[in-house]
């Protein structure tokens, strides 16, 4: 499925996804009909796509009024650089919002796996999460 049609359906403007110039996306091509294809017998062909599962919308969690006095978990997904980056965020909070407590945690398991123990701990002791992804 074309990601633009999906996002359109979900109410996200495709403009938000305007590609980095280096990406050669097929969406870019504008001259498809250039050199007009010759007339020939019309064929009917089948769509090769599989069947994606339905998407269940998840309402986002209620936001906090303020971060002052709150505990923020800084969660690393384990990619190289994420730990050092989150450490800089905790330094930023110490400098700029010293009433915020930060707790660093490395998520257990593969990068795509859930870590239920950590999620339970955060639910119990934390007020918000900053998760770092990418490297």
């Amino acid at each position: 499925m074309n990601r633009r049609s999906l996002l359109g359906l979900l109410g996200v403007s495709p403009v938000a996804l305007a590609g980095v110039p280096a990406f050669a996306s097929s969406d870019k091509r504008t001259d498809t009909k250039k050199g007009a294809a010759p007339a020939g017998p019309m064929l009917e062909v089948l769509n090769p796509r599989g069947t994606p599962p339905p998407i269940t919308l998840i309402p986002m969690a209620k936001r906090l009024d303020t971060l002052d006095g709150k505990t923020i978990y800084l969660v690393s997904d384990g990619f190289p650089g994420a730990d050092a980056f989150l450490n800089q965020i905790s330094i930023w909070f110490k400098k700029n919002m010293p009433s915020v407590t930060t707790v660093y945690r490395l998520k257990a398991g593969g990068f795509a796996d859930d870590d239920p123990k950590l999620m339970a701990e955060i639910k119990d002791k934390g007020n918000a999460v900053i998760m770092a992804i990418g490297h």
């Binding site: 110039p21 280096a22 650089g81």
Partner: protein, 436 residues
Amino acid sequence: MGIPSAPVVTKAFKDLAVLNAAKRGMPHERICFTPHPVWGKTPEEVRAYVDGPDPVTGKPFMKEVIDALTAPLSEEDKKSGAVTVSTGPATFTDTADNLQEFYLNNGYTDFLPIILPTEERVDRMLKATSHKPDEVVGKMAAGAYPPWSYDVRQVAASAVMAGCRPEYFPIILAVASSGVASLFSSTNSFAFAMVINGPIRDKLEFNYGIGALGPFAQPNATIGRAWTLLSKNLGNGGIPGDTYLGSLGNNLNYNNVVIAEHEDASPWVPFHVQKGFKKEENVVSLFRGLGVVPGQVARGSSANENVQFDHQMSDLFSTFTGFFGALIIADPLVAARLREQGYDTKEKLIDWLYKNTTQTVKDYKSRNYAYLFDYPRALRGDEPWATWYKLPDDAVIPHFPRASDFNIVVAGGQTNAYPQAGNLSYGVSVSIDRWM
């Protein structure tokens, strides 16, 4: 030479030897065969070959050798003169389905579906160049065979078949004009690469970002494929057992390694400019060798801020043969990091890699290609091999004979600081503009 000669060939090369002798004008050459292989056999085992029968004729091997040198020549053996080789009729007519099958069964394809080269489609391709359809573009040989020549129209047919759009045609012509086939007849299963530089990369929407080397863009896919189709159809290459002998084969031969350089994101001079072209010129540069491997696995790639890409590459090259060069394909993130380390030119990095990628003479001599390719050159006095073969076993020598064996291009989508590296040698750069 004028002196009777008896070629001795192992049985695995029977078709090749017989066909090649015929194509070179000696259809009746007296070739004697031994079982295959002789490499890796003990002298005793090989002696049994000599005492035993020729596996092709079934007659005693040494009797065949002596007969080859002494039996009188027949009239056929003495013949001289030219013989024309036919490649069949100019066109074929049938239904689309039957023609797909016909092209496949006749070895005109890579065994994947093609766009049928109808006159109309070929004409549209021909409109993308100012060159005349009957102009001779070049000559191409499948390994040791005599080369075939071909004109612009013949190149256009292979370009259509590969699925190229007409605007890609000048690149295909430039590749064809080089005479470099992407299917080389050797028992090695060689791989081929092309680097594309200049504004044409953006004009044709080449992918030099995420997945640059993979199946994610039409020009990358079809231009690479066209090289293999024209190597089959115009150079008569790619016939297993005849014009192709790679024992295991190479998956890269389907589409070849097509690398459009990510010039904008590179901190260095583009590859074609290094080769003396102007930045605004469109150029294709060709490489040949063993293959491409990922660099992020090697030593020097630890998950901290001290990523040493220079050391990582040097480590990766330990399994490369110095017979071919090293083509580094650096993601822009790798290039930027190397630039920060102080390598502000490709030449500086190459100089470091040349000096720091080393091996002992003992290890060098244990390499297959050293004996096969370098030792004969040492015998002829070629340097540095003549010197290397005189050094003691524990002497330390460069892994690659010359700094010019290293080449660097920048490509990739910057999702991760990973390089790839090809054990590939630079061959030639050709102007694409000349074929517009």
